[in-house]
């Protein structure tokens, strides 16, 4: 066994807690993010739609980052939380006539009872049992909550409209950008907070964490609560993006498939960093939306994203965040080679995407 094992470097080291000034690497990263945020502009309304989609997946990805990346609990029901958020937004806006800004907190709060039930079960379960449990919860919610006509609006679902200053594609994109960035900032902060460090300790070694006086029970429950609330917020914004929310997306097998896609997005981006969710969403969801028109989309995207998941887990468990770090190190050590490689990778991807949009 041992001689066949490839040492998978685990992204398990605890974070530095000391606050410090931004390094040049981080400044370069921020500049890169700014450039990414401007990407949709030349593509007009389609560009903004893709951008909105990616940002919502980034928000939902944060939910996976907290529960799986920080606390080490495999959750395959993230999209069910999003479904609860979307449906509650639908009921509140379409049926009770609430404004969106009141429906949003309700959507986030509506996930809490479910997270508590899942969290209480999760405390007793390890790794794969939890994966089975969350898969089961997703299935059961699809057969109960999402079948309940008063909540889901029956087969036709709900029609919701964006609130007034955010009707246009560009303004909704800007709103989502602000919300996603604020949440990324908060989840980043969570990592070095007391609660976040407790989560990382529980992930690394449950018994040791307990010996250090960390309440494992409370920590896991908190992880699920935060994950659920983030899912609910993402779901509420998803409802506004789609304008029509129907229940079938949140029932088996679509709901499991989307939850798995979310895990893939976050693994590709970097599972234990908040920015990873953002990067992964940009990398994968943009491609998903752009290639949607292509004929072999399902197989292409299914195989492609799954291979990325497996390859990243095997060789770059830190995701694109790790790739970016390694690339930065290369640039520092051998500037010409590093910059040329980075430019080639970015140029190739942007060029291919542009070509594809042109052709389809």
């Amino acid at each position: 066994m041992t001689e066949h094992t490839v040492e998978v470097s685990q992204p398990l080291e605890l974070p530095a807690v000391v606050r410090r000034r931004l390094t040049s690497a981080e400044l370069a990263g921020l500049a890169g993010l700014g450039a990414i945020a401007l990407l949709p502009i030349p593509f007009g309304s389609f560009g903004f739609f893709v951008g909105q989609f990616a940002l919502i997946y980034a928000i939902l990805g944060l939910s996976v980052v907290v529960v799986t990346g920080y606390a080490g609990l495999v959750s395959l029901m993230t999209y069910s939380f999003a479904g609860i958020g979307a449906m509650v937004t639908g009921v509140a806006m379409a049926s009770w006539g609430w404004p969106f800004w009141l429906a949003l907190p309700l959507a986030a709060a509506a996930t809490i009872p479910v997270s508590i039930i899942v969290g209480v079960t999760a405390v007793r379960l390890k790794g794969l049992y939890l994966a089975i449990a969350t898969l089961t919860f997703a299935d059961a919610l699809g057969e109960t909550f999402f079948k309940y006509g008063k909540v889901t609006g029956g087969l036709s679902g709900w029609i919701v409209h964006r609130p007034s200053p955010f009707r246009s594609d560009a303004s909704y994109y800007v709103l989502l950008l602000a919300v996603a960035m604020a949440l990324v900032w908060m989840v980043t902060g969570l990592r070095s907070s007391r609660v976040g460090r407790a989560m990382l300790a529980v992930r690394t070694n449950e018994r040791e964490a307990q010996a250090l006086g960390i309440n494992v029970y409370k920590t896991k429950l908190t992880a699920f609560l935060i994950s659920g609330v983030l899912g609910g917020i993402g779901g509420a914004f998803l409802a506004l993006l789609l304008t029509s929310v129907t229940r079938s997306a949140f029932q088996s097998p679509l709901v499991e498939a989307t939850s798995i896609l979310l895990v893939t997005v976050v693994v590709v981006g970097g599972i234990d960093r908040a920015l990873g969710a953002f990067l992964g969403a940009v990398a994968l969801v943009v491609q998903q939306q752009v290639f949607q028109g292509a004929r072999f989309f399902f197989a292409y995207f299914g195989i492609y994203s799954a291979l990325l998941l497996v390859l990243f887990l095997l060789y770059r468990p830190g995701g694109l965040m790790q790739v970016a770090r390694l690339q930065w190190r290369l640039i520092r050590a051998r500037p010409r080679v590093g910059i040329a490689a980075a430019a080639a990778i970015i140029g190739l991807n942007v060029g291919l995407a542009w070509l594809f949009v042109r052709l389809s």
């Binding site: 066949h4 998978v8 079960t121 089961t136 299935d139 195989i303 799954a306």
Partner: protein, 308 residues
């Protein structure tokens, strides 16, 4: 559908779908015990065999022969997954293992969807004899009866093999204590390869029994939903495996029958209770998880082997 003796008929339905869950669970447990990987790609591996069967049958190969050939080819998918991917992951890292099996599942399922050409549904020719047998005055589908008999027979043969043959004993030794087994000269990689191969064949058999016969006389269908059968197949199979604490093979088989029976017998329950049919499996699983069934079956030694 409901004849003179609905209970007998419904029991037959339940046992035949239970046989499928049981076979899937046997494969899951075998792979988990021997290699420590809970295989979320189990159904996808079986699905590839169904695709091979469909291809062969469309090429004019007699259906029973096509089924046997597909079954013979089925270990390839599992062994490839093990050799190319799972061998490279440290056993202790369960989160990564689970996520990778999910990735493999998606690769195989997407391949299957591509071969099927993204159609809403694809017709599958049946290979079991169609017709009715009468049993205790009730007409039963031949496919149900044959499915039950075949599944029980093969499961019994497999369990006997696992218990009494040299290879079976080697696999059990690896499950019990890897280090000691390796010191005794048992090849760990070979044992794991065998476990993945046989596990895949069991998954293939399960899906070959159910998918070509779902629609009775018209044969079988693969719908886009069957490509990712989380609710209908995977969750009951996990539940069945949980009955044996994920390690006990005979209990996993029995668990499969139990899940099948509960689901079908609820049809006969009065109105509010029969609605529970679709969530029965989920509720049972949550109950099993809370009971932590593994404590009844896993010895301290085996727990160490699984966690190390």
């Amino acid at each position: 559908m409901i004849a003179a003796h609905p209970v007998i008929q419904v029991t037959a339905f339940g046992l035949s779908s239970g046989a499928t869950f049981g076979l899937l669970a046997l494969g899951l447990v075998l792979i988990y015990r021997t290699t420590g990987a809970m295989n979320f790609s189990h159904w996808a591996i079986g699905l590839l065999a169904v695709i091979a069967y469909l291809y062969l049958a469309n090429e004019g190969v007699p259906v029973v022969l096509a089924m046997l050939l597909a079954l013979a080819l089925s270990p390839i998918a599992g062994i490839a997954a093990y050799r190319l991917v799972f061998r490279k992951i440290p056993r202790a890292n369960q989160v990564v293992t689970i996520l990778i099996t999910i990735g493999i599942a998606q690769v195989y399922a997407s391949l299957a969807a591509m071969v099927l050409g993204f159609k809403q549904f694809t017709r599958l020719p049946p290979w079991l004899p169609q017709g009715k047998v009468s049993f205790a005055g009730t007409q039963l589908n031949t496919t149900d009866v044959v499915t039950i008999v075949l599944a029980v027979g093969i499961a019994a043969g497999f369990l006997a093999w696992f218990r009494f043959t040299r290879t079976g004993r080697a696999l059990r030794a690896v499950a019990q204590n890897r280090e000691a087994a390796m010191l005794a000269g048992i090849d760990d990689v070979r044992s794991s390869t065998i476990a993945w191969g046989i596990g895949s064949a069991l998954a293939a058999l399960a899906l070959l029994l159910v998918l070509p016969h779902v629609a009775g006389k018209q044969g079988g269908l693969i719908t886009t939903f069957d490509i990712t059968p989380f609710g209908t197949l995977l969750i009951p199979a996990f539940g069945a495996a949980l009955v044996g604490g994920l390690v006990n093979l005979p209990m996993a088989l029995a668990g499969g029958f139990a899940f099948g029976l509960v689901r079908e017998l609820l049809v006969l329950a009065p109105k509010p209770w029969s609605d529970l049919r679709t969530v029965a499996a989920a509720l049972l699983i949550l109950l099993l998880l809370v009971l932590r069934t593994e404590r009844f079956f896993v010895t301290a030694q085996e727990r160490e082997a699984l966690e190390a």
